[in-house]
């Protein structure tokens, strides 16, 4: 019988992917203390942390699947679903609020035609909220594919997105 509770599905068994994940765990000495680093590395390699790899990690680290599932779901960084080609994060914490980030958030969502947490239909851009990027002296702050953007406005972000899409 198919066990389809979260974290327990392995219907999409993928030996190549699982081999990659096993290798990542080995690189971290199969140490349970390194679980967060392992999840980061898995996400970097696969783009997300699918349910299917949780049992692979659990076995390598000698943890229960519940423990691995619990860690993946606790931290905002880890995603069970693939993201778009580019990830745009907009800071919506206090210092950026003081510089009008909510207006910017609304205009970005409108121009991309998606809500925060969603990906554009063409799979190009995922829009996410983040709470502080440590650039509070140059608010509002955003991050595109890990690159910090200061004094963000609709124009600055549109330019950065166009450059990213063009592969620059």
């Amino acid at each position: 019988m198919q066990d389809d509770r979260p974290g327990r599905t392995d219907s999409s068994a993928d030996p190549v992917r699982d081999g990659q994940v096993t290798a990542i765990c080995q690189r971290h000495g199969n140490q349970p203390g390194e679980l967060i680093e392992i999840l980061h590395d898995v996400q970097t390699a696969l783009g997300f942390v699918p349910d299917g790899v949780l049992p692979v990690i659990a076995q390598a680290l000698n943890l229960s699947r519940a423990e691995v599932y619990g860690v993946r779901t606790f931290y905002h960084d880890f995603h069970a679903e693939p993201a778009g080609k580019h990830i745009l994060q907009l800071c919506r914490a206090e210092a950026c609020q003081a510089m009008g980030c909510e207006r910017l958030a609304a205009s970005l969502a409108k121009s991309l035609g998606i809500a925060f947490g969603e990906t554009t239909e063409d799979g190009a851009i995922t829009l996410r909220a983040v709470y502080c990027l440590g650039n509070c002296g140059l608010a509002p702050a955003a991050m595109l594919d890990g690159r910090l953007i200061g004094r963000a406005d609709a124009q600055v972000i549109a330019t950065a997105l166009a450059a990213a899409k063009a592969g620059r």
């Binding site: 606790f74 003081a98 009008g100 983040v130 440590g134 509070c136 002296g137 140059l138 910090l148 200061g150």
Partner: protein
């Protein structure tokens, strides 16, 4: 230009966020095109963010600054240099800029001056003096010196650092740890990031001294994943120190081992709480631990562990090198030394201001900050992060002192200062405080987990004008429960911004008021 000229372009994340790399590339291109011999040095930031990218040129009379520089400014700047005229972006000698000149930099003394990845630079500017002295000093004397200096935790709580050290030093164990909390998640703070990117050596040196003093042999720097630049710089610096024999099996010839590792966070705000950070370092969900036992007795992996903030540890080398008396001479009352105040949000001159405790909020926001960025009147200032109070203009003359702020129902915390102009709606800010707590609560204790959700719902009712007086009383009651009954500061301090907003701006909590001009309803999604 005669000979080789040193040009400094910061590689701090804030400077990069407004184009410092593009400026550095333009300088290299322009120099090559003109056959000018320049050496581009990537320093940290001086902490004057409104001037970033701030380019400095070494001259016979010291470094002179230009800023903010855009790539298209570079060619005209070369024209001016070669023609012997002053470019319009010339700010004069960097050290003479009032914002910098009027600071008292002890912890950030090298930040923005040195190449963060040059040990030679580090030592030439006073680095390693503390560690060398600590190696030659009886270890209890090192702890005593830090205690005597009155160094309190810079992460927000202000607990005397040396008390933790003393407990770890005196606890017998097969393994001890030094853990640096670099999970700087509070909005309005960037000092930890700036230091790790601009002068990582002072943090490493502080951790090495803490390790020698307590007998710890392993250390971790837990850095939030939102700081990729800081993570890369810290790792590179640790590698340099290891290669130079300053970390590893024999720290600076002491015969003692200390190995240091960088660990990434994963986007959980609560991991800035020390016990939650320890859980995360052990690879688990960042759920807060009940105390006792305190981490100094049973911390990482159940072993005695020093947990200190970045700036606490980075302040140690100067205390050891120059002595407790030198450090203690700065400050007021029981707040000794300096604090890295961070001007953020709606402020004209955002940046880092290291000053002795006792400086007033007005000096920081008006004299250094230059007032609001939008030019509108300032209405509220949140001090000490999302869990700190909103301070009204009537309290601008409060001195930055742990005790003075506590007496006023506020907190200095880590010195983060977020300025809001008169378009802010304080009921929305109170609502946000609860909502943020609801999203980021680890879920272990009920007052925080449930209280934050109910708090947000109740503020929504107040905003909608539903039974306003009754619901305000309910919020007051809920805040009391959260303050008294939460396990950690997340639930325990969320009431502080809420209650300060209600107390100082009651007009915003009368319900069904038309939104303030320029204000917006904040409907936030969870961080993803």
């Amino acid at each position: 230009m005669p000979n080789t000229v040193d040009i400094y372009v910061p590689c701090d994340a804030a400077a990069l966020s407004v184009g410092a790399n593009e400026v550095a590339e333009a300088i290299a291109r322009e120099a090559a095109a003109r056959d000018a011999s320049v050496r581009i040095i990537r320093n940290g930031s001086r902490g004057m963010f409104w001037l970033e990218p701030l380019v400095e040129v070494a001259t016979a009379k010291g470094r002179v600054a230009y800023g903010p520089v855009r790539p298209q400014d570079v060619a005209p700047m070369f024209d001016a240099w070669l023609g012997g005229t002053a470019h319009r972006l010339l700010l004069g000698p960097t050290d003479e800029i009032a914002y910098l000149k009027n600071q008292e930099r002890l912890t950030f003394v090298r930040c923005g001056i040195i190449d963060p990845l040059s040990l030679e630079d580090y030592e030439a500017h006073g680095g390693l003096a503390g560690l060398r002295k600590a190696v030659a000093t009886p270890l209890p004397q090192v702890v005593a010196e830090v205690l005597e200096a009155g160094l309190r935790g810079r992460g927000g709580a202000g607990f005397p650092a040396a008390i933790k050290w003393k407990t770890v030093a005196e606890t017998e164990a097969s393994q001890k740890y030094i853990c640096c909390n670099a999970d700087e998640g509070d909005s309005g703070t960037f000092a930890d990031r700036m230091l790790m990117e601009g002068d990582p050596g002072s943090l490493i040196e502080g951790m090495a001294i803490a390790a020698l003093a307590t007998g710890a042999t392993e250390g971790y720097v837990y850095i939030r994943s939102e700081y990729p630049q800081a993570i890369a710089t810290m790792q590179a610096a640790i590698d340099l120190w290891e290669a130079a024999g300053l970390l590893g099996d024999n720290v600076a010839g002491s015969g003692k081992a200390f190995r240091l590792h960088v660990r990434r966070g994963a986007g959980a705000y609560i991991c800035g709480e020390e016990s939650s950070m320890l859980e995360s370092l052990e690879g688990r969900r960042g759920v807060v631990r009940a105390k006792p036992p305190i981490p100094a007795i049973s911390g990482l992996n159940g072993k005695p562990t020093v947990v200190n903030n970045v700036l606490t540890l980075a302040s140690v080398p100067v205390i050891i090198a120059k002595g407790a008396a030198h450090y203690k001479a700065f400050g007021m009352g029981r707040s000794r030394g300096t604090q890295a105040f961070q001007l953020a949000g709606n402020v004209r001159q955002g940046g880092l201001v290291e000053k002795a405790f006792g400086v007033t909020l007005r000096e920081l926001v008006e004299t250094f900050g230059g007032g609001s960025a939008t030019g509108r009147p300032i209405r509220a200032i949140q001090v000490g992060g999302p869990l700190g109070a909103y301070v009204p203009n009537s309290q601008l003359d409060l001195p930055m002192d742990y005790e003075a702020f506590a007496a006023a129902g506020a907190m200095v915390g880590h010195g983060g200062i977020v300025v809001f102009d008169d378009s802010v709606d304080m009921a929305q800010q109170a609502r946000f405080a609860f909502e943020f707590c609801a999203i980021e609560s680890c879920g272990k204790c009920t007052p925080c987990r449930i209280g934050a959700v109910r708090g947000k719902e109740t503020v929504d009712k107040i905003i909608a004008g539903q039974d306003v007086a009754k619901n305000l009383a309910l919020v007051a009651d809920l805040c009391e429960t959260m303050t008294d009954g939460s396990l950690c500061a997340m639930g325990g301090l969320t009431p502080m911004p809420v209650q300060s907003a209600i107390k100082h701006w009651p007009e915003d909590f009368r319900g069904r008021t038309p939104p303030r001009k320029g204000s917006e309803t904040i409907q936030i999604p969870a961080a993803e």
